[in-house]
């Protein structure tokens, strides 16, 4: 229990310190433009990693479609922001509302997918989340949505049937996605979202809900037999995780001028999963660090130019082998024993 608390303060301190340092660097102009442009995506990926960690690390169910919730939030949040262009002139407020809407729709999607998910286990559950991500991508790739003074008009497959009144505009144009987005996402908004996410997740983990969720992860049958309502707690974790992903999606989308459904495909889901696993399952601080490093890494490898993705792949394999292979594990344990003496005991 004690260890968890210190971990919590480390997470908050880390995020706040990083924010403060970045703000100082930005105001003194010591930061490159490309680095500055990465701050919002990094924030979004941190939230994505934390929220997926809730599903994979804390609930213990493998999800391969987390980008689907991000997509849901990105599209609904951005559309909402575009519809509020005139009614809410304050960009900060508009971004806030759009993130809330993204979170709501993400949560709804999470609830819908949660219904089949709750019946399945392990790899079957994973494949359903994968399928769900692909369905979302496929639908947004073919959805045409227009908006005028009479409200929303939508149609699948083509925009032919949509006739807009004067002053109306197309919001989603099929595979072209949403274009002419106002870039209203800021690093400060990202920072607030991260802090909020951390607050929610830590609050959840330390509450009765969190203990029930972790009990389900560790032994579902035992948890059920002491009266834990498995369905309810699984669903709670799943919906919260999806809602946070939705908010992150809304933040992420409004950092670009165009966004397409293909940006949130299977590879994005996998990328987020990689962040979670490298950071450590159930370890929130780890997720934050790995999300930051792994978003910067491809940028930092730019000098390798064509080889950078290859290097990335090799780094990924080597890290997994180094941290998980039985031979290296024994070596690390020995090293720990020699260096720290009874450090292991202290941690517990």
């Amino acid at each position: 229990m004690k260890r968890k608390n210190t971990n919590k303060y480390v997470s908050f301190a880390l995020v706040i310190a990083a924010y403060a340092i970045m703000m100082v660097l930005i105001s003194t102009g010591k930061i490159t433009r490309s680095m500055q442009g990465m701050l919002v995506p990094i924030s979004a990926y941190i939230v994505m990693a934390i929220s997926l960690n809730l599903t994979v690390g804390i609930l213990g169910e493998l999800s391969l479609g987390h980008a689907g919730f991000m997509s849901m939030g990105a599209f609904t949040g951005t559309c909402a922001a575009l519809m509020m262009l005139e009614s809410v002139p304050n960009t900060g407020l508009r971004l806030g509302i759009s993130m809330v809407i993204g979170a709501i729709f993400g949560g709804i999607a999470g609830f819908l997918i949660g219904i089949p998910v709750l019946r399945l286990k392990g790899d079957y559950l994973a494949i359903v989340t994968l399928a769900f991500g692909e369905i979302i991508k496929s639908i947004f790739n073919n959805l045409y949505l227009g908006f005028d003074k009479y409200g929303l008009h939508f149609q699948l497959l083509s925009e032919k049937g949509i006739k807009l009144e004067e002053g109306g505009r197309m919001l989603i144009q099929g595979a072209m996605g949403i274009s002419k987005i106002k870039k209203i996402s800021t690093f400060t908004a990202g920072f607030i979202l991260i802090i909020l996410t951390l607050f929610i997740v830590y609050h959840l983990v330390e509450s009765r809900y969190g203990r029930a969720i972790m009990a389900i992860r560790d032994n579902r049958i035992a948890a059920e037999s002491v009266g834990v309502d498995v369905t309810k707690y699984k669903m709670t974790a799943f919906v919260i995780s999806a809602a946070m992903a939705g908010a992150a999606g809304a933040l992420f989308a409004q950092n670009y001028s165009t966004i397409t459904a293909n940006k949130f495909d299977f590879n994005t889901s996998i990328l987020i999963l990689v962040l979670v696993v490298l950071g450590g399952l159930g370890n929130i601080t780890g997720s934050i660090i790995s999300a930051t490093l792994l978003t910067i890494l491809p940028e930092a490898l730019r000098s390798f130019a064509t080889y950078r993705m290859l290097v990335y792949a090799i780094v990924l394999i080597v890290v997994m082998l180094a941290t998980n292979a039985s031979s290296t594990k024994i070596m690390i344990d020995r090293l720990k024993a020699r260096l720290g003496g009874n450090k292991e005991e202290e941690e517990r």
Binding site: L120, S138, N141, A175, M320, N324
Partner: protein, 291 residues
């Protein structure tokens, strides 16, 4: 008549999925891991065959055999270097490693063979058979025939040979198999070898039917075939076959009767519905949990 021709092209696509799904399902059955790099082994096989035929002017049969040999070796090398050290590791660690291998293969292909699409030549020409109003291309017939042959050969292999029995024993209980004197590591290697060899065949057939070859060619069919394997009940060989065929047919019908763009959504929706009704897939074994 239209229905019949869609059904045949669906079966042909489904046969390709089935061959890929067999690789997934065998590896899953024995090593209990999702080998995400499988789709990229398909792509490597297609490139090998392509270069054998186009650059070195080898006959198609030699090209296919060469692709099979290369993929078999590749599969075993991947297993030895990346997966074997992780035998005792949590399954997620193995999954991420497999994803790393997949990225590695894709990007290595990108560097070696560039991202410009290659037009794959059909291995048996563009001949067609006319049956009344129905036209069936040779490629389609060959694909279905090869799939059937592989299916029967594999069923015989796992049922009757010493190696096949060893595989089944390992997939049931590795510890007990080892106590009976079965070389578990060798058996797992062998499974990867067979799966990767099949992937090469699938790659050649896939590219004969859909002739554009790029470094990411394997990833979407890989995901679909993985879906097919789960659809049929992962770990089961007849399940992979059935799942592959059904997935191919559903996808083709969805393309023909609903919409080309939404076909993926239809396929995956059907998958979700099937899993709701049969949570272990069509032919999967329902294992009761012991308390």
């Amino acid at each position: 008549m239209r229905f019949l021709s869609f059904l045949i092209s669906g079966l042909s696509l489904g046969s390709i999925y089935a061959i890929i799904a067999l690789g997934y399902t065998m590896v899953y059955g024995i090593a209990k891991m999702l080998n995400f790099a499988h789709g990229d082994v398909i792509m490597v096989g297609s490139y090998i065959c392509f270069f054998a035929m186009m650059r070195y002017n080898l006959p198609p049969v030699v090209g296919v055999l060469l692709a099979m040999v290369v993929c078999t070796v590749l599969g075993m090398v991947i297993e030895r270097t990346a997966y074997k050290p992780l035998r005792q590791a949590p399954s997620l660690a193995v999954l991420i490693t497999a994803i790393g291998v997949s990225y590695f293969l894709q990007n290595a292909a990108l560097l070696l063979w560039s991202s410009s699409p290659k037009v794959f030549p059909s291995i048996i020409g563009n001949g067609k058979i006319q049956l009344g109003e129905l036209t069936i291309s040779h490629v389609t017939l060959l694909t279905v025939a090869i799939c059937l042959v592989i299916m029967f050969a594999l069923t015989w292999f796992t049922g009757n040979t010493k190696m096949g029995k060893a595989m089944r024993a390992c997939s049931e209980d590795k510890g007990a198999a080892q106590l009976m004197g079965i070389d578990v590591n060798g058996t797992i290697s062998m499974t990867f070898a067979i799966g990767s060899g099949l992937a090469a065949i699938a790659g050649v057939l896939l590219c004969s039917a859909y002739p554009t070859l790029v470094p990411t060619t394997g990833s979407m069919p890989g995901i679909k075939a993985f879906t097919a394997a789960v659809f049929g009940g992962i770990g089961s060989i007849p399940g992979a076959f059935l799942g592959g065929l059904l997935l191919g047919v559903i996808e083709t019908f969805a393309k023909a009767y609903i919409s080309t763009q939404l076909s993926d959504a239809v396929v995956f929706s059907v998958l979700i519905i099937v899993l709701l009704v049969r949570p272990a897939g069509l032919l999967g074994k329902v294992i009761n949990e012991k308390v």
